[in-house]
């Protein structure tokens, strides 16, 4: 899991990036999932029955202690149940917090969750 810096313009993100929390300035290392503390989302039966696939982009506020404080749906997957399944799972995650130098700080990260129907 690489903590790559966000590509693309900051415009779209800045609009949805909440004012609370950190701006991301001075962060030397982004928050990233901590091994072993990731609850995998389950595919909602309703969306599966309707054959709905999609990618939901979650905006996740990771606290300095690695817990998730808030999750916002930045871009919906196209079905509310998919968004909910992703949100419910990621809310239980633990992260390695972002750091400014050696000091852990709260930060926002974008986590895409892709739902695919495969045999």
């Amino acid at each position: 899991m690489g903590a790559a810096t966000a590509p693309g313009g900051s415009g779209a993100v800045a609009r949805s990036a909440p004012s609370s929390g950190t701006s991301g300035e001075g962060i030397t290392q982004w928050a990233r999932p901590r091994g072993g503390y990731q609850v995998h989302p389950s595919y909602p039966a309703t969306a599966r029955q309707a054959r709905i696939e999609g990618t939901v982009r979650l905006l996740v506020h990771v606290l300095a202690d690695g817990r998730v404080e808030e999750i916002r749906v930045e871009a919906s997957a196209g079905h509310p149940d998919l968004d909910r399944a992703a949100t419910d799972a990621v809310r239980q995650w633990r992260f390695e917090p972002a750091r400014k130098g050696t000091e852990p700080v709260a930060s926002w990260v974008i986590l895409p969750v892709e739902f695919h129907l495969t045999r």
Partner: protein, 145 residues
């Protein structure tokens, strides 16, 4: 001669570092990092009559004597226990005796349950570890295999 080369390299290295720091220094509030995507996959909904999904509601509302009894909601599947327990149930599928799981593949969260080389029966499937209350659904695939 060697020493001088090393020193020169070190100098170059430091200069490059300083350049990098300068370049990354005045970055104005970078947007949130995008993490690697989480992939959630599931089989497509059933598309043949021998294939089915049994939602949890179907067995949550019935009393279950034994964990394996939830499989009784599968049409054509009979589960019985010809002893007090402590061993796998006896399964019958479409009228055929599948013994303790021979010729039937059982999976829980994609984890295979059949014991291939069990002395009592190859494919022996003891479902007593299963907690019916925690199950979300049962997927059934009756194939020609």
């Amino acid at each position: 001669m060697m020493k001088r080369t090393v020193a020169a390299l070190a100098l170059v290295g430091r200069a490059a570092l300083a350049d990098a720091q300068e370049a990354s220094g005045p970055q104005p509030a970078p947007p949130p990092a995008v993490l690697e995507p989480v992939i959630v996959s599931a089989p497509p909904p059933v598309d043949s009559s021998s294939e089915q999904v049994i939602p949890g509601k179907d067995f949550e509302l019935r009393p279950q004597g034994r964990p394996a009894d939830i499989l009784r909601v599968v049409p054509g599947f009979v589960v019985s226990q010809h002893q007090g327990g402590g061993k796998a149930a006896q399964y019958f599928l479409r009228g055929f005796d599948a013994d303790h799981g021979t010729d039937v593949g059982f999976f829980l969260d994609n984890m295979p349950i059949n014991l291939r080389s069990h002395a009592h029966g190859q494919g022996y499937t003891d479902l007593h570890f299963m907690i019916p209350e925690t199950l979300k659904q049962v997927d059934v695939f009756k194939g020609p295999y």
